[in-house]
Symmetry: C2
Subunit: 715 residues, 2 copies
Amino acid sequence: MLPRGRPRALGAALLLLLLLVVGFFLFGRDPECERRSWAGEEGTLCDRCLLTPRVFSDGLGTTATLDGDPYGSRNRSTSSLQLLLPPKCEMLHVAIVCAGYNSSREIITLMKSVLFYRKNPLHLHLITDAVARNILETLFRTWMVPAVVVSFYDAEELKPLVSWIPNKHYSGLYGLMKLVLPSVLPLSLARVIVLDTDVTFSSDIMELWALFGHFSDKQVVGLVENQSDWYLGNLWKNHRPWPALGRGFNTGVILLWLDRLQQIGWEQMWKLTAKRELLTLTATSLADQDIFNAVIKEHPELVHPLPCVWNVQLSDHTLAERCYLEAADLKVIHWNSPKKLRVKNKHAEFFRDLHLTFLGFDGKLLCRELFGCPNQFPPGAEQLQQALAQLDEEEPCFEFRQQQLTVHRVHITFLSHQPPPPRPHDVTLVAQLSMDRLQMLEALCRHWRGPMSLALYLTDAEAQQFLRFVETSPVLSARKDVAYHVVYRDGPLYPVNQLRNVALAQALTPYVFLSDIDFLPAYSLYDYLRASIEQLALGRRQRKAALVVPAFETLHYRFSFPNSKAELLTLLDAGSLHTFRYHEWPQGHASTDYTRWREAQAPYQVQWSADYEPYVVVPRDCPRYDPRFVGFGWNKVAHIIELDAQEYEFLVLPEAFSIHLPHAPSLDISRFRSSPTYRDCLQALKEEFHQDLSRRYGSAALKYLTALQQSRSRA
Amino acid sequence: MLPRGRPRALGAALLLLLLLVVGFFLFGRDPECERRSWAGEEGTLCDRCLLTPRVFSDGLGTTATLDGDPYGSRNRSTSSLQLLLPPKCEMLHVAIVCAGYNSSREIITLMKSVLFYRKNPLHLHLITDAVARNILETLFRTWMVPAVVVSFYDAEELKPLVSWIPNKHYSGLYGLMKLVLPSVLPLSLARVIVLDTDVTFSSDIMELWALFGHFSDKQVVGLVENQSDWYLGNLWKNHRPWPALGRGFNTGVILLWLDRLQQIGWEQMWKLTAKRELLTLTATSLADQDIFNAVIKEHPELVHPLPCVWNVQLSDHTLAERCYLEAADLKVIHWNSPKKLRVKNKHAEFFRDLHLTFLGFDGKLLCRELFGCPNQFPPGAEQLQQALAQLDEEEPCFEFRQQQLTVHRVHITFLSHQPPPPRPHDVTLVAQLSMDRLQMLEALCRHWRGPMSLALYLTDAEAQQFLRFVETSPVLSARKDVAYHVVYRDGPLYPVNQLRNVALAQALTPYVFLSDIDFLPAYSLYDYLRASIEQLALGRRQRKAALVVPAFETLHYRFSFPNSKAELLTLLDAGSLHTFRYHEWPQGHASTDYTRWREAQAPYQVQWSADYEPYVVVPRDCPRYDPRFVGFGWNKVAHIIELDAQEYEFLVLPEAFSIHLPHAPSLDISRFRSSPTYRDCLQALKEEFHQDLSRRYGSAALKYLTALQQSRSRA
């Protein structure tokens, strides 16, 4: 078919070979030049820098001429790289040390920037503490990005390996762990890119990986020169940095040639150097970076200097500006100032915009498949795709079916959180909300002094707004016992029960109060519930009980919250308060028996009746909410049926109450209330729920079906 | 400084020259090959395709081998392009025909994708109808993207040039206008990229521009082959497409070599062809594309076939899949099915995600400067930057100052809109809102049957949610007399008066009712206001009057709206209604004199008093709101003072009323109500406002200052 192709192909191959040879001759490393350059001699600009033609600036051979740039010589070494790119579908390995809540958020923004540009499968090796592992395991499992594998390594186990090193850097022990990666990562792993969590990519990580191809046989670690004068010393009196070659190197981005490091006895090497330096220096100032630099000072042949664009450092006194001439030059931005985004810099706004782009980027849009790469789908993803593909778009309840199948990306404990100390009668308030209920949080915090587990249904951009909202609220930022779990929006229907289940699963106390975000509990409720649990000896007798918190509502917008049951009853009698949904949906709380409650002095048992949906306190291991109920309607009713079917007894607490505040109907409600299809689909869901119920509980579930049929015949 | 550089630089230059020469020889055009290829001969794969090494796939020489791909030969012609890239800072020209509301939205998403990847200054040549011009002029003026120049050309003037061509395509006359671009664009313009509004870039447009460098001397138009069998004919009985070479070419992306087109007498050429074809064909089916193809069939030497990745066509029966092997290959995606994003396609989800990325992309983040390019800032941008830079970040009211200076990107008439017919007494309801008040819109539409001009403060992503909200609401989508103007969020404080001014400036009737979004007007208000305006002969006598619509409020969440003044008075007496903010801020409406209003049968005049802030009907040319009031507080008060200072008489209408519905405090309110700094800054704003007032109105403004001082001494 292609007879005329061959001679030309041969010609092209020859040309390429020629290019390679001449390129090597022209652009190859010049050890003398390099040494002078990274030794920090100002004005040393190696020749090959000037030889780079201006090629496509998103490509490999970019970065313009930088007169007097001390990093220049290294910036240019990429231009002959085009032939060394990894083959399509080759797995690239990335290792990141990550601990705590804030770093877990950072790493996600970093990963979004990597995923946006990447074209290769990635294997992430995450060295995490328990907090980060918990967060990131859930996140990646629910994110379902094709062609991304994640492995976790326990940072706890690595602590003894580095804890003997005194360290003043804010990253603490975790920063030092980069030193021990060669002994921690699997032996089968030959090379790995190591990243700090505070970097942002603006290019394809494959290009960085390709730089391994430029290592000489002896080079084991690729690093960008440090873009500040720190290691030159004398920044202030008695400023005595660790030894380094010239300005030294920055370890925010590292290419590690792992098997070679093993071969040269890296572990002994860095330990020896560190111990020797620590004889005269009291501690590391910049964690692993000081030690990497001290080793390199001693063994300069080990380092492969990387182009500075692969680690543009935005510290306070950065010299990064010398590194790039245009935006296209930038490959990786490193927010290595403790001021992070607030750092001052000539192009700070540009960098911030790039970072903000990924901060608010919809992570779902990054679930792009890599065309033509095999086995890229994470566990469950293909089945999910198939199930979704089998849905009939023309079916009236299509949106419901689709929403039920949707796996939402979940970021548990989005903000710093202090788990409650283990207490046998403690209760966590569990609720869910979206952006339009954020203003309830402060009041809720004032009313409920105990732990809370709240699921928030947000877009990525809203999650950032939420973060700022909490940071600027003295009430909210003071509370470390409130855990916020972000469930990312996806689809047109509100996944109310999936949200409740996320919040419920993350509650850490033995009991949970299953509430709704527009209710304010009595000020005394938290203490009262704990006392009741203790008095009723729920824990000890393994009594299966659901404690009912009677629900009220005010239709008045301005309203003075009752401080006691007596005050509440007065307001009730005055008509300022009503029992909840008394006018529209009395059956929802009828079983609570408000008349009896008025007089009650002790908890009393009530029986389930159709459509009962009280707010209850139950053990944390209670049944989950049925996730088929998306949108609005019947989502709590089904849960209460489940409790009843599992023989929980409903005990109404005589001093407990909670009051619903008025609010505009949420967008999701108003959008569907008016739709007849919506109501039909809800009916279909109810029927399916009852079929499942019969399957699981047999004839015991008959009463629920009867109740449903009765209510349908009434309708 | 660089003595060793020169000989090597010389060597490199020689190498490049060699590359160029050999590259031209190897990769240069082969007319025989090309003709066979675009003549649609299956399996003709030209040699140079195979010669392309797999280079960086975001770069120029990408796209993998496609066996049997009829476009293959063209896909590959880019690999030797690296030397032909435009120099840094070279201006690239882009022409787009755009008419109507929907295309104006489309073009913005297209531009976001272009701006995200671009590294060169751009000059946009927009051929627009009045609607699109109005929208896009405002948008680009307020967007202030560095290094983007926009010129407008009146499509109306071009209509006679193409209206003689019968056309069945949905783009109507506007599609045909691409034919006359060579005679419309400035003579000084040698080359231009022409784009349809329904394309999305996933690469740097500079790479597309660079393809001009591959034109032979005779080639004048660059096009991608059509990726369907349309022009092959016989798709159904009597399917008779216009003549084309093989599959023909698609005109969604065109490289036009304008001066050459002038030279070859393009205008005569296409007209001649079109007229001749129209002797046998009744009309064009695909607008300009049919005519371009007919001309090319006759003069194949004019076309330069472009790699198919520059116009990946997602029509229903697309063959586009043959064009790319991996995502990185894709350069421009063309949504050329009337189904747009809902089109079915193997990789539809991938394409949709890319499009959605830019749909919701924060346009502000694209205001990135091009490092090192001169004169890139649009009018006013540099002064604005300087003013912002001069603000003191440590000053307590810094956020206020910053917010006041912020120029918000404004998209007027975001959705389809039918301007009201000119009527001398017509009134437009003017209000502003953010996402958390969207649920008010349906009720507002039921209460106010006249035109409305509403400013919405949204993020780009929220604007898309809003679009879907309106589309799925039968009430809202039926109303074409409601103009929605999107003002894009930027900064922490709510720019309430800037929003009001946007809505006010876009009102098209002689009178405006300046309302707030949480008020529902009496059902009769629209008719009553028009009658009152007529009766009071406001227009004729040039009487400067502000008609006061008395304001009430309900604190009850569920509430039955009064159908008449009598019903309202009953509710008022029953305590279900109150005069607005009677409890917290009685001075706001005290001057309205509700006692007199109860009995009034005719309009009565009232005098201004301190803090008066009634809702009024005024002529459209009334004073604007003072934009210094950002956040909440005093924003309406200042406007009423301005009206009083300009000697508007306040006439209270006896049958008019409007009722405030309860709602949760907005996030913006709750965030700042509690802050003492906020109140201090508001006080400072008030004082500055009064200083300006004295400056403008002299001693007449004294009474306002006195009132302010009295209120301060009371506080």
